[in-house]
């Protein structure tokens, strides 16, 4: 028995880049390079890559954001719906 998994790979991920993935299984991010692996039939969400400044040790993120990297700036995937646009 075997299962089919989707593998989504993006390089040079920058602010505002969009991608449609599932982030609940395997998600790797390093130096702008993202890899998501998840069952092919898993639900997918459209995300926008966004940057958030860290201020006094905290950062404000919208609901559903997935943190990819946190230094002095947090890089996160934000559900497209958070922008008030159409899903």
């Amino acid at each position: 028995m075997s299962n089919i998994f989707a593998v989504v790979h993006r390089e040079n991920l920058e602010a505002f880049d969009r991608l449609t993935v599932n982030t609940e299984y395997r998600l790797e991010f390093d130096d702008g390079e993202l890899t998501a692996v998840y069952p092919e039939n898993a639900d997918e969400t459209e995300y926008v890559t966004a940057m958030f400044p860290v201020s006094e040790g905290t950062v404000e993120l919208p609901d559903g954001a997935v943190v990819l990297e946190a230094t002095d700036t947090v890089v996160a995937l934000v559900p497209n719906a958070a922008y008030g646009g159409e899903d």
Partner: protein, 228 residues
């Protein structure tokens, strides 16, 4: 002619802008505020509440600021929007980065940037000349002049502009505007007249027995007697 209340309110302001004037007037005068840290910010309460970087615009919380910016009468396109957000307008790379970020922010929020830019009536970005045209839309063109008492009284008493704002839209001398408004009895404070001015010469002396002349100004009379 203006009623007593209007004239007294104008005198009390002594050349300042009216506290309660139509929002449209503020919108028209916003032309002078375009530019980062130039005058009052167009899209937030303070410049500290502007995004620190173009990339930072990717956070959804900036959508509201971008929308306010695009709808501002002073902003008719991306060039003006960028000019309001960064002082580095001489750096083509930085400008392009901000421009692309604004376009991406608009796309993310499904904004129709073109129609938002078009909401401005052009009075915001055309400089003082366009602002003056918009402010005096109700007047005949031939009386729109810095030395026309009716026009100055209209801008000061009815539209609620300050002496400084009238000076700016005409591109003229502040002391001349103040003096002419003083001639009309609409500016009270003689101490604020320019140095060396013979204040008595600037007063309109009412005819004998007519103490109420300053309460209701007959501009036809003023215009006829006040030419320099």
């Amino acid at each position: 002619m203006y009623d007593e209340t209007t004239v007294e309110a104008a005198r009390d302001r002594d050349g300042d802008a009216a506290d309660e004037r139509p929002d449209k007037v503020d919108d028209i005068l916003n032309w002078k505020q375009l530019g980062y840290e130039v005058g009052e910010p167009l899209a937030a309460e303070s410049y500290e509440r502007y995004p620190d970087s173009a990339e930072g615009l990717s956070a959804p919380k900036w959508s509201e600021l971008v929308e306010r910016l695009f709808r501002s009468p002073a902003v008719n396109g991306y060039d003006e929007a960028v000019e309001e957000l960064t002082a580095a307008t001489g750096d083509r790379i930085i400008v392009r980065r901000w421009r692309e970020a604004l376009q991406d922010a608009a796309d993310a929020a499904d904004m129709d940037a073109g129609s938002m830019f078009a909401e401005g009536d052009g009075s915001g970005c055309g400089g003082p000349e366009a602002a003056l045209t918009a402010l005096t839309d109700d007047l005949s063109r031939h009386i729109v002049a810095e030395d026309n008492p009716l026009c100055l009284a209209f801008l000061y008493a009815e539209k609620g502009l300050s002496v400084g704002e009238i000076t700016e839209v005409f591109g003229t001398d502040d002391s001349n505007v103040r003096r002419r408004l003083h001639d009309l009895g609409l500016v009270e404070n003689r101490e604020s007249l320019p140095e060396g001015t013979a204040a008595d010469d600037l007063l309109v002396h009412p005819p004998e027995g007519d103490d109420d002349i300053e309460d209701s100004i007959d501009f036809a009379t003023v215009e006829a007697t006040n030419h320099e």
